[in-house]
């Protein structure tokens, strides 16, 4: 597919990150001798999207939808089976040497669990300075200065650099993780459920902080989450994933107003109300997400879909644009 296959993008500037036909299949083996392969898990199966500079793309889906594998592919923790990820127009699969280091410097990640993502034996200052030590030859003093700068950006005092992670609460740790992700003038941060593990009152702090940082620094986010309200709040555009595929993609407000794909609609019905008087329809989908090892034929959602037609079981729908910037993979449209 050509770059024109990302019709969602409204802006004309070149995208920062472009994903095309990205596919990751994991072999499934049983531990016999010799090892026997019994199939493939199609964790990610041909997804396309693009992220513009300064934009937040939300990726939402339930467990097994492939959102975590997607983030691993972008972070070069896994190699794709096929398809391409382009950063600044360049395929990251071919990166080596200084180019690879540049990518490593400009793309960072914040994980869900702030207790596991900070090394317990390093001081906060060392943790934040690590990317600087890898990518720059700044003096110790210059490093400390930069660390103080990013600590200030995330609303922490410079003195905390001397402390160890266990002296902080979850929200503060997540701020430290964000500071570390920002320290090398990062251009894209993958936020992998960054607020799911935090207390309610702290979640809003971190979300506001992230939005503020984006407005100030122009950094792009890929925000991965499972809570519709949270993802919709922070994202400009949202990609809804189901069993390794993007089933719908739209501007976040448009998606909230007019969800088209039956799965997206089900997610909205399942979303918890903000008020006891919010009208709610009865959840129409039943059952659980099938195993990615043997996904259903045709449209992968059809066994759970309340609106399934006979062709859905045979014919896999292509994702097509139904309104400017709004695409959906469903035979209904």
């Amino acid at each position: 597919m050509k770059s024109g296959s990302n019709p969602q993008r409204v802006s004309m500037s070149p995208p920062l990150l472009e994903v095309e036909g990205l596919t990751k299949h994991f072999p499934v083996t049983i531990a016999l001798f010799p090892r026997r392969q019994i199939g493939w898990v199609k964790a990610v199966d041909g997804i396309d999207f693009a992220v513009d500079p300064g934009e937040t793309l939300g990726v939402i889906g339930e467990s097994g939808c492939g959102k975590t594998t997607t983030s691993k592919l972008i972070l070069l923790q896994e190699g794709p089976t096929s398809g391409a990820i382009r950063f600044d127009g360049e395929d990251i699969a071919g990166l080596a040497g200084p180019e690879l280091m540049r990518y490593r410097r400009e793309v960072q990640v914040v994980f869900q669990d702030p207790y596991s993502s900070l090394s317990p034996r390093m001081r906060v200052g060392e943790i934040i300075a690590e990317p600087l030590q890898i990518h720059t030859d700044l003096s110790r003093a210059a490093q400390q200065e930069r660390v103080a700068e990013v600590l200030d950006l995330v609303g922490l005092r410079p003195e905390v650099a001397a402390l160890f992670p266990h002296e902080f609460s979850g929200g503060q740790r997540q701020r430290i993780a964000i500071a570390r992700a920002l320290v090398t003038n990062t251009r894209l941060i993958v936020l992998d459920e960054p607020v799911s593990a935090l207390d309610v009152s702290i979640r809003a702090q971190i979300m506001n902080q992230l939005e503020e940082l984006q407005a100030r620094l122009g950094v792009s986010y890929i925000f991965i989450g499972h809570d519709l309200a949270t993802v919709a709040h922070i994202s400009h555009r949202i990609a809804v994933m189901y069993l390794g595929q993007i089933v719908e993609m739209a501007d976040s407000l448009e998606l909230c107003e007019k969800p088209l794909h039956p799965y997206t609609q089900a997610l909205f019905t399942a979303a918890l109300p903000a008020h006891p008087d919010d009208k709610r329809e009865k959840l129409t989908i039943s059952g659980e997400v099938p195993s990615a090892l043997s996904p259903p034929s045709g449209c992968r959602f059809h066994p759970r879909c309340p609106k399934a037609m006979s062709r859905c079981a045979v014919d896999a729908p292509e994702r097509k644009e139904v309104a400017p910037g709004h695409s959906v993979a469903c035979h209904l449209y």
């Binding site: 339930e62 467990s63 609460s169 979850g170 929200g171 503060q172 207390d199 309610v200 009152s201 702290i202 979640r203 809003a204 702090q205 979300m207 506001n208 939005e211 499972h226 809570d227 519709l228 309200a229 949270t230 919709a232 709040h233 922070i234 976040s252 407000l253 909230c256 107003e257 089900a266 997610l267 909205f268 019905t269 399942a270 979303a271 918890l272 109300p273 903000a274 008020h275 006891p276 008087d277 919010d278 709610r280 009865k282 959840l283 989908i285 039943s286 659980e288 997400v289």
Partner: protein
Amino acid sequence: MQPLLEVTNLETHYVSFGGARVIKAVDHVSFTLNEGETLGIVGESGCGKTTTCLSIVGLLPPAARIVGGRIEFAGKDLAQLSQSEMRRVRGAQIAMILQDPMVSLNPLFSIYTQVAEPAYYHRSIRGRSLRQRVRQLLDAVRIPSPAQRMREYPHQMSGGMRQRIVGAIALAGGPRLIVADEPTTNLDVTIQAQYLDLLKELQQETGVAVIFVTHNLGIVARMCDKLAVMYAGKIVEAGAVRDLFNSPQHPYTKGLLGSMPKLGSKEKLFAIPGQPPDLASLPSGCAFHPRCTEAMPRCSIEEPGEIRVQSAKGLDVAAAVGS
């Protein structure tokens, strides 16, 4: 009518080794729950909501002790019962659903054994009727083909199904009260919705009362009749769910509601500043005052008493502001 559960001035403290440090995890908590009602207890980690529940079901860790107050359940004070008396109440009349179904189920026993156990012990059902009962229970929690499933083991089931099994175990003894501690936290969104719907239906069928412990106000909005908001071991506001959502009085409740992202709105979230306090060294006066946007000088000195708010009927608030 006599309420099913009446908790009065409950105090549960964690006492450190040698008594050097006392943490007041639950500090003068009172609430009532009627037959068939659902109470939501909301708060952040360390606010004492879980300890409150563990006090009710009598499963406190060794370091924790109920030091005051009454837990009157169906005319008995649970706080005074011995371990063995409590065992007879638990499972038969009060059941508990925990957050992680993986931990709640024993991987070595079949589904049948685990669901049958409370019915066997507490209702003395045996033999064929026990099998019948288990099948009914699995049916009730929407487990497909229960006759076959009850021979299986926990690892053969998905997370959503396991949590429904835990629900079946909770129902097996025919309880009058179920205490559910964040039962859907580990479930996917659509599975969570299915589970909540199921709980609601079961509650309507059996008339069991439910205490829902959660940090998620959305669950409260969907499930509960009454709500108690806890902060630093105390209930800071309590009342009917609708009243609390419509006109929250305590600044903490207002903050919690403001920090919930709303679908289709990009409005900046209201973030309560600061961190939840350390229960071992609480701020003076009102424990919330350092984070409160409406704090006054007296808030750091005086602990606010309980006030009944006049405007909305049946709403209890403990707040010094606006009084």
